[in-house]
């Protein structure tokens, strides 16, 4: 699969698709600007294909950490005012967001 990513073949449609997945609204010019840059980086990354990694277990974290449990003691959370102080839109004690459901016709 990595060969598919091998540099020049990255299309504008692929970049636009990735931008949609990443929830970034990109104008066509931005897609065109990013396309060769992303392709160059992916081309470099494709060097990983030449490594012999047989038998190497994936290592997601520097130390093999396991679930670390805290003592089951309640602690004070942040007050609502502290949370809301950074919200872009607030109604009373709530975060205001645009309508999520379409209106019934």
């Amino acid at each position: 699969m990595a060969h598919d990513a091998n540099a020049p073949s990255l299309t504008a449609a692929q970049v636009a698709h990735v931008a949609r997945l990443a929830k970034l609204e990109l104008a066509p010019e931005a897609v065109e600007r990013f396309r060769p840059q992303l392709a160059a980086v992916l081309g470099h990354i494709a060097r990983l294909d030449s490594l012999d990694l047989a038998g190497a277990e994936p290592m997601a974290h520097p130390f093999e950490s396991h679930n670390r449990l805290a003592d089951d003691v309640p602690v004070e959370g942040l007050p609502i005012e502290a949370i809301l102080m950074n919200a872009p839109a607030v109604e009373g004690r709530f975060l205001a967001v645009p309508k999520v459901l379409a209106e019934e016709s």
């Binding site: 990443a22 130390f63 872009p88 967001v97 999520v100």
Partner: protein, 496 residues
Amino acid sequence: MPLPGGHADLTALRDAIASGATSAEQACAATFAGIKAHGAALNAFHETFEEDALARARAVDADRAAGKPLPPLAGVTLAVKDNICTVRGRTTCSSRMLGNYRSPFDATAVERLERAGAVVVGKTNLDEFAMGSSGEHCRWGRVANPWDTGRVPGGSSAGSAAAVAAGLCAAAIGSDTGGSIRQPAAFCGIVGLKPTYGRVSRWGLVAFGSSLDQIGPMTRSVRDAALLLDCMSGTDDRDSTVADRPPTALAATVERPLERLRVGMPRQYVSDANDPEVNEAVAACADAYRAMGATIVDVDLPLTDAGISTYYVIAPAEASSNLARYDGIRYGHRAAMRPGDDLAALYARSRAEGFGPEVQRRIMLGTYMLSSGYYDAFYTRALRARRRIKEEFDRAFAACDVLLGPTAPTPAFAFGANDDPLAMYMCDVYTVNTNIAGICGLSLPAGFAMRGGKALPVGVQLQANAFEEERLLRAARMLERAVAARTSAHAPAVHA
């Protein structure tokens, strides 16, 4: 060049305050005089806290006058990279996304350093969300290098490095995901320490690559780095990835040279791709170690080059996940609504407006590599390479105590010289593997390169295995002393 008042470093300033030779208020006022005189030329600070800092400094002086015991950092001035949360001021990550963000809590590292008496003077400029190696990708203007203001200070902890090098604070803290403390330290001629992963709590460090990020000191001397790490390390209930270990006690041993030291020199680290002065500095350091009785060991790290490929899978993958939280709903930039917008459109426009181009590039890289059909080919493969890189270091550290090599292939480059993203990523070739393997690394000044009639600092990197900071700092202190004649030949053009 010393700090204002003639103090060589943070430790000297701390001692002068403790003995009454100077007052904390005087030192603090001198710091702000320096920031006012030179801050604009460097653009190192986003925000400063003069009144508050002076009040804290006066409180230290009052404690001393009352005969109270002073904590280890009492009255010293400290700058904090602006991706580390402070209740005081804003925490912007140099991003429009968090332009007005006020943290409701202090990072554990900040809380501990303040408890130890440090006076936080301000928040420093950085490449947006710590993504960059030059200090050019900043929402409110780039940072300049105090040695030559036409050149970059390195990144991403650009403002912290420039501020320390210019004497605008006694020390600073930064964060290092792939070299963001060490590379700007090298470019600005200061000491930068990336501690072992898990040494310092990440609570309050705005997440970029959660398995790579560490907070660390940026200082004028190796002993200062030891002292700051002692004051901020140790376990923390609020970070489940911090090591369950007590704080370090490095200041007590840092002056003691190591006997029978074995210094490994990876043959891949001295390359024709490096500038000649960089290779020359590494060779001079090897000679200095030999003269001190150390054994130089030839080391083979064939995966050095694979580090960049591995890093630019893992770091963007983690970044794309971490930065998914910025949706314009709970905090951060929210775009103006347009007729017909649904929630998805609001997310996508808020993120496109809020993030700068480098952050968008990395989010897209990560999203692509984690997307269906590509995950194994990129992400799993990079995690396998990560295992091999870690094993390679383990083998190396069986034969030597520390590794010696360059911090970066070149000294500070001119603004705009690495506009191509991939070229910029290659600046980190000697630093990323430290983060990939989770070990510790330190950059210290080792010489100069002359460019256009100006002296630019050249740094070398020492690396040691996980949790071997004592060995790393003692070896670094030996070298710092041995190359002092090489590193004191020039002074920054901009200095308080």
